[in-house]
Structure formats: C-alpha cells, structure tokens
C-alpha cells in the first residue's frame, strides 16, 4: 500500500496526530513512530516516477525515486526519529508538531520529481522551520525567527521566479541537470544557494539556530541546508562556480567560528563550513565528487545533530549559552562530554570516524581532477575544522576553566539519542562499506591507506598543537561579529534615520511652497467663483444666451474643421 503514497505523508500524519493527542506517552510513540513508518515507506519507493498528479494542467511527479534521493530521505527520517527521542520529553508540543512538518518537507523535496512539487515542500520547510525557531520562546528567538522567515520567503520567491521562467522557456518542470546560463536558471541556483547558507546571505543560519530551544536547534541543523545540497546535486552537478562558492563558505565558517563566543553559534558557523565542502564537491561534479557530497551530507547530519544535542544538553542544564560562562563540565557530564568529543572528532574527519570516510572522498575527487589549489585549500580547511569545532567546542565547554557549575548529566532519552548517533559516527568510520553501497554511483574508493591516514594524523594533530600554543589568542570575549545582515539590521534603519534628518529641511521648503501655491489657487478660485466673482454672480438671461450662442458657434466650427 505504501508504494502508492508519498513517504512524506507519514510525517504529515504524525504531525497532525501529535497536535491532536494530549497524552504525553502516546505522543512520544507518534513522534518517534511516524519517522520510522516514513523510513519504511522511503525504502518501498522504486526508481523512477511512481506517483503522478496534475495541477492546473501542469503534470506533477509527486514521487520519483533514485539512489541519491533515497539516501537523503533515509537520513532525514533517521534524523527525525532520533531527534524525536532526544526531544519528546522536553520540547513543547508545538515544536514537535512543527519539527515533523519540517521533516516531511525535507522528505518531500527528496522525492519531488518536478520543480513545482519541490517548491511546495520547500516552502513547507521554510514555514515550519520558522515555527521551530520561534519555539525558542524568547524575545530574541521571536526577532530572529522573523528575520529567518523573511530571508526564506525571499529565497522562495527567487526560486519561484526561476521556476516560472524555466517553465516558459523550456516548457518542462522536470527536475534534471541544468546549467546556470540564463536568468531563470540563475534564479533557481540563487534560490537554492540561499537555503544552503551560501554567501552573501548566510547570516540567517547563525542568527536563527542558536536562538531556538535546546531541542529545536537539533532539528534545524539537519534539514534545510542538506535539502539544498540534494537540490544542487539533482539540478546543478558540475556547475564550476560552486567550487569557489563552497571554498568561500568553508573559510567563512572557520573564521567566524573562531571569533564566536556562543556555544551553539560556533556549531552554526561550522554548518556553513561543512556545507561548503559539499557545495564544492557538487561543483567538481564527477561521480567521485557527487558520491563524496552525498556521503558527507549523510555523515554530517549525524555528527552535527550529535554536536547540537551535546550543546543542547549543556544549555538546558546550565541555562548558559556562552563559552565564557561555562567550562569544566566534564566532571559531572561525562556522557554529554564524550558524545560531544566523538561528534567533534567526526566533524574533524579524524580517522575511524564517519567524517574521515566521507570527506576524504571529496579531497580524492579534487585530486582526480587535478585541482591542486582546491585540494590544498580543502586540506587547510580540514585542519581549520579541527581548530574551530574539533577542539574549540569541547575544550571551551567541557574543560578550559572550572566555572564552578556542577550540572546533572543528560536525561535518559537524550542520552539514548546521543549514544545512538555517537555509535553511528564510529560505525560509519570503521565500516564505511555500510554507507558506500547506498551512494548514487558505484564506489571505487579505499578510505584507509596507511600513508593517507598518517598524512591526516599529522595535519590534525599539529593543528591541535597550534590551538594550544595560540590559546591566549583564542580566549573568548563578550562579543559578536558583524555579518552581511548588518545591512538590514542596522544599515537600513540608519539610512532611514539619516534620510529623514537630511531630507527634513527640503521637505519643509517643499511643504511651504506647496502651501503657497494652494493658498493662491484657493484665493483666485474664491475671487472668480464666489457669489461676487465674474463666474459666480447671477447673470441676466440675455447675457447667458449670448454666451451659449458663442460656445455653440465655436463647437460647430471645430466640428467642421476637424
């Protein structure tokens, strides 16, 4: 029966049930069960289009299966289920409902066979991820959510403009490999890149995610940017500009994370960094590179969610969210600490973790294509990831100094979720053969060669040395770093204020002049039309008749002449 239904329906149904059920225990079953039903549905989807519909005469392909689509949908469903285990006991009901709709959007995008279906699920994600941000419950979360929504609605409009244009120029909405050569395809590319947090519009991510609730940011870390990666894989494989966009994101993430003090914002910047690796891989576009992007997205969702879970437990238990406020938590939070460390090692692509077996595929792809500069920049970035996330996150949160805080370790359900993902990080690092058969292309890649492992060990351990030698320079301060969003958070209001200040004399003069003109007009009208004026006073009948005759004559002449 599942073959004929979109898998996303399981999550939509789950969301509606969650909203309706008032019993907490029953709700827990639904929020964890619905993604599992969805996962089963995902694996029933055959290759090719399996569900069609028509809307206003447009043919829609609601479900189209392929290995890469199934891979992304699988990790989205696993994420939704594990996130639910992590969150069900602590998150508000609204957040759980929104998170399921959000995941449904991500699964829907994964199987969308045409751009219109993709767009609908894309907007579903934008809508409900905003609700997840708002569930942070603070004034900051509300404001950040509004900025987040504006950015994503803008991205949606840009994407829609591109889709309409493509429909008109090519007559087909089918999802296929495009090239950014004309206005419509550029709009589609830009619309997708906004969701991938590509420059210059990447500030929404680091603005919104850290303001969500400790459980909400776990969901947020997984779906939006990775559906954008899938869309890039499907629509723009081998678009060479993506190599440089990706490399920019990689270093942007590192630099901003190095400057950051907020625990979860460090992780948010490192999402941009990691997505940069994937964007770069899509830009390279070979089979190895696409495999690398897909595998890395799969591994990334797991270790990034794990890191956000670890950070979320810290925020929830201490009520603090700044590196300068916490420290020394390893004493009472060993489970959270170890899970955070495993996530940090995985994101740094340490050998024996999932990051190593997936990210090095991207490096290999750059080697195969002879892209020396790209290869060395990616290697430098790998060192930088260890610096900004691999050591910085666990060091400042769990070690550093004794903050005097002695919070409890994670509650049981959060522990279960974290241990599961930590286990997956190691499992995929030790047995990458579990993941490789799921990748879009046949894998001809051996991750573990003695020389390569040694190279990465040197690279990573010496960046660790750099961290501890430069520690005085790494101490966090009570600061934020300006981003492009300064333009509308501060720049526009400043411009408006300056404009009104500079413009007010001009406006005053204009107002005075206009007033004079109006006064003159009213006086002259009163003079001519008033009951004593030439037009207003009562005339004798003879005079009136004379005027009428004159006017008629003028009319008759005009009629004959023209």
């Amino acid at each position: 029966m599942f073959e004929s239904l979109p898998p996303a329906l399981a999550l939509i149904g789950g969301a509606l049930l969650t909203a309706a059920i008032s019993s907490r225990q029953l709700r827990a079953f639904v929020v964890i069960g619905a993604p599992l039903v969805c996962l089963y549905g995902i694996w029933q989807v055959p290759d090719g289009v399996s569900l069609e519909a028509s809307f206003l005469g447009y043919p829609l392909e609601l479900v189209e299966g392929s290995p890469v689509r199934r891979l992304f949908a699988t990790i989205f469903a696993i994420m939704a289920a594990t996130g639910a285990v992590f969150a069900f006991n602590h998150a508000r009901r609204t957040e759980l409902v929104a998170a399921q709709f959000y995941a449904a959007g991500a699964v829907g995008v994964s199987f969308a066979g045409d751009l219109l279906t993709l767009f609908v699920f894309w907007e579903l994600m934008a809508l409900f991820s905003t609700v997840v941000v708002w569930c942070g419950g603070t004034e900051k979360a509300r404001a950040a959510g509004v900025r987040y929504a504006i950015m994503h609605l803008l991205g949606g409009v840009v994407l829609k403009v591109g889709i309409e244009g493509l429909m008109i120029s090519s007559g087909s909405l089918d999802i296929r490999a495009l090239q950014a050569t004309d206005f419509s395809t550029w709009m589609i590319l830009i619309g997708i890149l906004i969701n991938a947090a590509a420059p210059p519009l990447s500030a929404w991510l680091s603005d919104a995610y850290p303001n969500a609730s400790p459980t909400g940011s776990v969901f947020l870390s997984a779906f939006t940017t990775k559906t954008a990666i899938l869309a890039l894989i499907l629509l723009f494989p081998g678009e060479s500009i993506l190599i440089w966009v990706g490399l920019f994101m990689v270093f942007y993430g590192i630099i901003y994370a190095l400057l950051e003090n907020d625990i979860r914002r460090i992780l948010a910047f490192s999402i941009v960094n990691q997505v940069g690796f994937m964007v770069c891989a899509v830009g390279i576009g070979t089979e190895m590179a696409i495999n690398g992007a897909a595998a890395h997205a799969f591994a990334h969702i797991i270790y990034k969610a794990l890191l956000f879970m670890s950070a979320g437990v810290v925020v929830m238990r201490t009520g603090m969210h700044l590196c300068t406020d916490v420290g020394g938590l390893f004493r009472t939070m060993p489970v959270t600490m170890w899970c955070g460390v495993i996530g940090a090692l995985a994101i740094s692509s340490f050998p024996l973790t999932s990051g190593f077996t997936t990210k090095t595929m991207i490096s290999q792809a750059s080697v195969d294509e002879g892209l020396m500069l790209v290869y060395f920049l990616l290697a430098a970035a790998s060192a930088g990831v260890f610096l900004h996330a691999g050591i910085k996150f666990p060091w400042f949160v769990f070690f550093q100094k004794d903050s005097g805080l002695r919070p409890q370790d994670a509650p049981w359900n959060m522990t279960v979720a974290m241990l599961f993902f930590a286990g997956l990080c190691i499992l995929l690092g030790v047995y990458p053969q579990l993941l490789y058969p799921l990748l879009p292309y046949a894998v001809d890649y051996v991750p573990y060669k003695a020389g390569k492992v040694l190279f990465y060990l040197q690279l990573l351990l010496f960046s660790g040395l750099a961290f501890f030698l430069l520690l005085p320079w790494m101490q966090r301060t009570l600061t934020i770093s300006l981003d492009v969003d300064w333009l509308w958070r501060r720049g526009l209001p400043l411009l408006a204020r300056a404009g009104s200040k500079l413009g007010s004399p001009l406006v005053n003069i204009l107002q005075a002049r206009l007033g004079d003109v109006f006064a003159a007009l009213t006086t002259s009208a009163r003079n001519t039309m008033g009951h004593t004026g030439p037009l207003g006073r009562s005339w004798e009948i003879g005079t009136t008749a004379l005027w009428i005759v004159l006017l008629l004559m003028v009319y008759v002449f005009a009629y004959y002449l023209f």
Binding site: F251, I254, I255, L258, L259, N261, L322, G328, F330, R331, V367, M372, Y375, F376, A379, A380, A383, G384, L387, F399, D402, G404, L405, R406, A450, G451, K452, L454, F455, Y456, L457, Q458, L459, L460, L461, F462, S463, G464, L465, A466, F467, F468, L470, W473, M474, T477, L478, T479, I480, S481, L482, D483, R489, R490
Partner: protein
C-alpha cells in the same frame, strides 16, 4: 556554585604529563613517515613532515586572519539589543 575542586585532570602534574604525551605523539606521527611513506598527489605533499607543517601553519594563518578580521568586525554582544 561549588568551590573549585582538585580533580586529577586539573592538577599541574597531570597537565605537564599530558603535554609530554602530546609532544611525544606529535613527534611519533612525523617519525612514522620513515616507515610509512606518504605518497603525495602533487609532489610537495609527499615531502617529509609536510602534513605537520601544513596543518600547523595553515592554522596559525587562520587564527591570525580571524584576529585581523575580528578587529574590524567584533562588537559588544549587546550591539543589536539597543
């Protein structure tokens, strides 16, 4: 708030020992290259100790870069609140 404790990980002797273990490990990863040759892809990355130097100096460069940009971009964290 609890008073600072004397956890074994925070004792100066432990920290000194950790530094020594760290330096030995670092030296070992470089020395191992005598026995496990690294076949570089572009020549230069096969040189002795290249990974170590490249990792170290790219990190130093990134920290300096961040410091420079920070001077330009950092604001008090209440900047957007008012």
């Amino acid at each position: 708030m609890n008073p600072p404790d004397n956890h074994w990980l925070t004792r100066p002797a432990t920290i000194r020992r950790l530094w020594i273990i760290g330096y030995v490990t670092l030296a070992a990863t470089v020395a191992l290259q005598w026995f496990v040759p690294i076949h570089g892809y572009f020549g230069v990355d096969g040189w002795f100790g290249f990974g170590a130097l490249f990792g170290f100096f790219s990190c130093v460069l990134m920290v300096f870069g961040a410091k420079l940009l920070g001077a330009l971009l950092k604001r008090p964290d209440t900047y957007y609140d008012v």
